[in-house]
Symmetry: C2
Subunit: 484 residues, 2 copies
Amino acid sequence: MTDISLHTPYPASAVAAWDFRTDVAVVGFGAAGACAAIEAAETGARVMLFERGSGSGGASALSGGEIYIGGGTDAQRAAGFEDSSEALAAYLKAAGGPCADEAKCDLYARESLAHYEWLKAQGIPYRGNYLPGKHIEPTDDSTLIWSGSEAAAPFCDIAPPTPRGHVIRHMGWGGGRPLVDLLEARARALGVEVVTDARAVALVRDGERIVGLVVRIDNQNRFVRAERGVILCTGGFVMNEDMRRRYCPETLRLSSPIGDQDDGSGIEMGMGAGGDAIHMEQFFTTCPWTMPEPQACGVLVNRAGQRFINEDCYHGRVSRFAVDQLGERVFLLLDNAHFSQPLDLAGMGIAGTGDTWEEVEAELEMAPGTLSATMAFYNAHAREGADPLFGKRPPILTPLDQGPFVALEMHFRDSFFSFFTLGGLRTSVDGEVLDRAGEPVAGLFAAGRTTSGLPAWGHGYSSGMSLADCTYFGRRAGRRAAAG
Amino acid sequence: MTDISLHTPYPASAVAAWDFRTDVAVVGFGAAGACAAIEAAETGARVMLFERGSGSGGASALSGGEIYIGGGTDAQRAAGFEDSSEALAAYLKAAGGPCADEAKCDLYARESLAHYEWLKAQGIPYRGNYLPGKHIEPTDDSTLIWSGSEAAAPFCDIAPPTPRGHVIRHMGWGGGRPLVDLLEARARALGVEVVTDARAVALVRDGERIVGLVVRIDNQNRFVRAERGVILCTGGFVMNEDMRRRYCPETLRLSSPIGDQDDGSGIEMGMGAGGDAIHMEQFFTTCPWTMPEPQACGVLVNRAGQRFINEDCYHGRVSRFAVDQLGERVFLLLDNAHFSQPLDLAGMGIAGTGDTWEEVEAELEMAPGTLSATMAFYNAHAREGADPLFGKRPPILTPLDQGPFVALEMHFRDSFFSFFTLGGLRTSVDGEVLDRAGEPVAGLFAAGRTTSGLPAWGHGYSSGMSLADCTYFGRRAGRRAAAG
């Protein structure tokens, strides 16, 4: 009997009987899978969606439901922000750093407004208003927030700054769940046949073409014939420690994987079918150090007492640079005017206090003239509205000179450094899984964190980029797969 | 007709006739391939070695012929250094950082002395003496040099420091060429059949087993049957810009790939056969900033005027941290007592000078109190023999306070930042290529930079690690392949 394995497609010739027949088989019911299914079904194709859990959700449902959208949306215009597809493209490419997929950046920038309209047409509600300030997610039901590093150096010099995080109308954190619920409802209304508690365990190949799936249901292998294509939307590999050890070992230092059942099975199946996996070392991380909000005015230093980034960047960019520092922790420095008790969740304890920065320095057992000199320099320039080292900007740039002072410890392993993986299958803008020669693997598609997409580079992540990628390129994969 | 491709093994059933038959086929004639061939031939197996160039060499011949060996060699003992396999293992694991292959580190540490004897038995001459100081390669024919970060923090606290770079007896730089020549002579003496100008273009598979190769000779495809195994020793992928863009894009910022024909073809063939490729983002880089030697006493700062590493580490570790810094360049700061004209090769120009560090700072257009404060702090502590920030140690730690002062620019793209890739196929300690489930791909072996091995992590590289890996694990691959 032929083995059934994630690592190698199962030969169609060994399939005795097909248990299911469909045109398009989607694997994974997060936002990417839902959007792929919706678009495939819109073409009239038969669509089946297999989800290993008991319902829709995936990592998307754990998110804030924030989608990175720009180019001049209603919410942007109503709040007086100008944006353009050129500015959006420039930002996306800068945020992708050395890993940017320029074709995906350009296309998404051109289509972002239309994609926003599509989301609304699926029933996603948006209040349409702008919420000023620095937020991880809105605490109310507002739409538009700053969700990236748009207004911070060097990005503010690359593209005119504007907020682009568009959040589903939903009171408080956790808009991802209702977002997926609405997409699920839409998919079901279009006739997508959803099979839950159905774990994909292998692709099926006939010659060079992927023609189906093996799915584990009720402890039995079920064979799914997908006449037009299989779309892998199973998320990343953050829950697979063995894969992380081989491809993304820096994350082993961090405390808190974020994911649902993101065990890399889709990436593994795609690679087994000849797909290329790229930028596998890339990951997003963040520690919720900007909450309560006044703490976002803090200064971060490494164990040498040095700053290392303009702290007005997106909290995840700051956190990503933090974990690059030598040692196992960094310190968030605050004065009495800005300190609040950090979130319990953050796991950030007080490492040192003092009536002067010199005293804090001493409590942290740093050499005299390190942290204190950093803060003297910082404050002197902050009073002038300048940060000559990293280009931090007012109002987040503000002197921290009203003692007593405090240093909060952000420990990579013991604080809440949440993270997920960004590397994955290389795909065309139509979601075709590409092999190492850059050619499509016939019949195989992927979207979301199973792929390397818009959020390609951990140091450039902005909130909403992954859902933008999941929803938009999920749609394209669905449409392309249905075309056969 | 079936396509012949690096990306997919050619089916044995499609081979009309075998042009060559051998027990073991080795691909690539650098140090790894030579050692694999020697050991395979020692067992009595028929061995053929295919090299795409016109002779032996590979990247090994471009090296200094330095091999990382420890545990208490004759040269170490004669110079009064103590070493142990435990200390060597601890150093190798620390140097491998998050990418360390512990099994390879432990095994090599245990076998390092025996491997040294084996190298001598192949005819590699060693003078046996120790050359003090800081060298990239010995300028005379000395044997033992400091070739890593053994005496520098944090490594000096992880394992008792001792030099371990063992260099072939050879006057001046470039010992890699005679090293490979001697290994070639040994391989030929053992009856290895060497075919040059023969480029491997595909593996041949029969069922699940790799049984041969397709080799391009005189513009024709030749089919090689390898009864017991194929060993891929074709080097890394530093010469393949497309692969670098997909797997190691940070290197696109650097100036000078070091390699022979390291186009990743072995990695590609191995992946196509189901092999796992790991740590593909890792690379070695160095700029020859420690030459002339007094410059090794310099201080490196980033564009914010901050130090970022103890500069007494191995020059490659320092350089690797340098290219992590924000911006496109770092500065090497020297005083009149330590400045010499840098090597032309290094491409390091003078970016600023001054009678005080404040003047240098101004010439570099850094804010007052950045670079100058860094140097005031550094000098104050250096006079006491201390570096509270990074643990740099005397005698390399020395005040830089004898003006005039200079800042040399090390520009990632315009200076000579040489680099090569460290990621590659995942292999067992016996050189078996492992698939993504950790199982050997039957009949397929690899060694050297086609694999991820001892030098797994760019930030921990030490000179001689790659040749240690090539020679020792090349041998093991040869022996294991010959065993069939």
